[in-house]
């Protein structure tokens, strides 16, 4: 689920969107609408493009997109950040996992508008230049992937898993990494990678 902390300041989250759909509290959305009078109480045609600024990997990115665009599709189709993968589009597989704030989120179930103003971190933003993040290096060392398609999601999830304090034991890692399916079934190697990287990540 999206991190809701701070959502009040940005005026758009799932709850207000739901309320808006019932005919009220949609002002922030219509205010950004491309061809809409900001004061109009009329609910906007959802197909009309909406301006949104996403903060991705430390950079503000301005987009004019369909209001129904997910974070995943915004990244992949509009920002050229294709590291996050679409495996099910239903929040069932975890291949699209990104961090919003410190929290892991399935970006296919998160509307881009609801992520405005939040810090989005994708697999592309994990390394410092050419220096790999310890979790990326651990995935290489432990051969924690085969086809590689679920890997960006696994790695983002793994980073959060450690920071959440859920990497204390192999059993914990297995449990808290179970939202990310790996059809090649590299699971034991993924557990080994999380174990390897955890101390370094916790040291900061």
């Amino acid at each position: 689920m999206p991190d809701k902390s701070g959502s009040r300041h940005h005026g758009f989250d799932r709850r207000t969107f739901m309320a808006g759909a019932a005919g009220s509290a949609l002002a922030p959305l219509t205010a950004r609408a491309a061809a809409q009078d900001a004061r109009s109480p009329v609910v906007q045609d959802p197909v009309l493009p909406v301006d949104v600024t996403l903060r991705v990997n430390g950079e503000d990115r301005h987009l004019r997109i369909d209001a129904r665009t997910t974070v995943l599709d915004a990244l992949r189709e509009h920002l050229g950040l294709t590291g996050s993968k679409k495996g099910c589009d239903h929040g069932q597989c975890g291949a699209c996992t990104v961090l919003i704030g410190d929290r892991r989120v399935v970006s296919c179930l998160t509307l881009a508008l609801s992520a405005e103003g939040r810090e989005i971190t994708t697999i592309e933003g994990l390394a410092s230049g050419e220096r790999l993040h310890p979790m990326q290096q651990a995935f290489i060392d432990q051969d924690a992937f085969q086809c590689g398609y679920c890997t960006p999601g696994q790695i983002m999830s793994a980073v959060a898993c450690v920071k959440e304090g859920h990497a204390g034991s192999e059993a914990d890692i297995r449990e808290y990494m179970s939202g990310n399916i790996c059809r090649c079934a590299a699971y034991p190697n993924i557990v080994a990678a999380v174990k390897q990287a955890a101390p370094e990540i916790m040291r900061g």
Partner: protein, 763 residues
Amino acid sequence: MTTAAPEPKGNMGQPVPRYDAVAKVTGRATYASDTPLANPAYAFLVTSAIAKGRIDGFDLADARRVRGVIEIFTHENAPKLKESKLFSNGGYASTTIQPLKSADIAHDGQIIAVVVADSYEAAREAAYRVKVNYAAAMPAATFDSPGATAAAAKGQNGQFKEDPRVGDFARAFDEAEVKLTAAYETPTQHHNPMELFATSCAWTGDDLVIYEPSQYVHGLKNGVAGQLGIDADKVRVVNPYVGGAFGSKGSMTPRTAIIAGIARRLNRPVKLVPTRDQGFTIATYRAETRHEIQLGASRDGRLLALRHEGMEVSSRPDPYCVGGTKTTTRLYACANVDSLVSIVRADRNTPGFMRSPPEVPYLFALESAMDELAVKLAMDPIELRRINDTANEPIDGKPYTSRSLMACFDAGARAFGWSQRSPAPGSMSDGDWLVGYGCAATCYPTQMAPAAARVRLQRDGRTRVEIAGHEIGNGAYTVIAQAAAERLGVPLEKVTVHIGDSDLPPAPVAGGSNSTASTCSAVMMVCDKVRQRLFRALLPNEGLADRAKETVGIGQTPATQAARSGQPLDRDKAFEALGADVVEDYGEWKPDGAPLDSFHAMHQGQMRMVGGDKMKGAIAYAFGAEFVEVRVNRFTHEIRAPRLVGAFAAGRIMNPRTARSQLMGGLIWGMSSALLESTEIDARTARYVNDNFADYLVPVNADVTDVKVIMLPEQDHRINPAGVKGLGELANVGTNAAVCNALYHATGQRIRKLPARLENIEI
């Protein structure tokens, strides 16, 4: 060395990290739908909600009103395509059911319309607004459905030539002291690779580029060109990375030519990313099977009679079958063998290869039956296999090129602690958990197909290898780089590998576990050609007579001898003598026994795969032994499989790291097949019910605790120059039976129908 990178034993290569590792952990690896396109239109499929009948008409008014919709294609206005024959019948297609051709509906989830719009969101909305009026007919869903028809596979499937038999089964079975007759069933399964069945098509003038995850870029290129009626040289398939395939991306599905035709019509690149549930019906699957096994043995455990009858479901028009009796009739010594494979036609999409297509269902039956026989004989199941181990397969009497089955059983048994097993069912427990140990043999044919490669070596050691192989998680980049580095004597980091592009020299399908054997054999051969040119520069006194002899195949020049031996090359000196800075060569390799038209076929995307039971004078298989510990909660009947151990011998292991990972994944696949996976079919409507990742169960991390892979060194010079047997499909074969044999040991209940789930446990 770590667990992930085991110490190489014997003739194994080094466990170097994957060539594509950094690309894959940084998100830089570009899968098909990651490829940027200039101003793409987005396609969304509409699929049939009935399995049999006709489309009476569409109401597209609502859909067309969606802002951003460009066009909606149905059978009334779709681009006309030529038919393609089934891959097993000299064509390229996974199915001969061609959607958007007529109003007819042949299966659930058939593509019936394609909505194209300026955005993905608009295409999706419009697709949901397409209204369809159907004239539905009653479909046949599966076995026993009214209207399903059965017939022998022989005579209708070009690749299933013979039902293996030898001796007099009926008499031997009749006379056997110990008899077993048992029936087994395996369910429908879907590959569910993580990457969806995406396709992007972009035309530049008359030239088409297809970005699609494919296990066979040359097959897809030629197949699509044929359907579009254009020259194959005008089509290029690009996919440097495939996000899992497991057989599902091996042959051409109908979507590709449809999207290509639409892109041509619209004069705009078109991008399709089908949904997960659509993947269940627009591609292939492992069909459900039924088996009857009859075993007759002497009291001391010698097999005297074996009969295996298999039945498999296919679609109405296509006689697809896997026919695993070719393996199960040859695995053990037995003088009297009979078999029969039949195909049952139903109103379904055409099934296709799924990881170890013949062996998974057929060895589940045989290896379960062997365990049942061992119980009848009061014999250890490993000893039963030892008694019936054989150096020659019983049907034609051909020798196995190498066979380490019992060595695998012994190594696996030691690592697993088999000696700790108390044989009586239900005799082992741990608190509320009944504990069971089970084992089974695993095997997979060694297969090879012609392949071509281009290799360029520079004076400074930089090497470029080009071959249209496929990186599906099999470590193709890595092992190809290793083969070239080793052969040319250059550091691994100087080698670049280019695969996954049909503009490169053709390689066969990455299927049938032939990929490493075929591509590495071709690359090694071309590396030797490069070496030969350099040695020739160093050894200029090559006589004309030597060359003439070599041309007619009765001798070798000194340069050829040097190139093909392991003789190290002084690269600097050789390039100096050659007076050049770059040597490049191209070559085409074919395995022994490949037919005369092999190379011609290879360039047309048709592969002539040889090996397994089809070799002349020999039979080649990789073998293994698998051990499973299961735990069954005596109150809730929850089933866990906390320990999987597999010991394998598969010829030369190019890279113990990537090999171990594939074998480990295979063991988990096998556990999953035994305990989790099943596509449920609504028998009334012939529709798949659980077509998503929440309902089609695959293992998650918490389902897997302890998996141990043992690789035995094995040398086999008779199979191919690389000495490789292939192991991508070796590990998930025996696991099904091993799990159910362990369940029997835990509970005393024999599971003969997969998957084994808690609701099937009756204790």
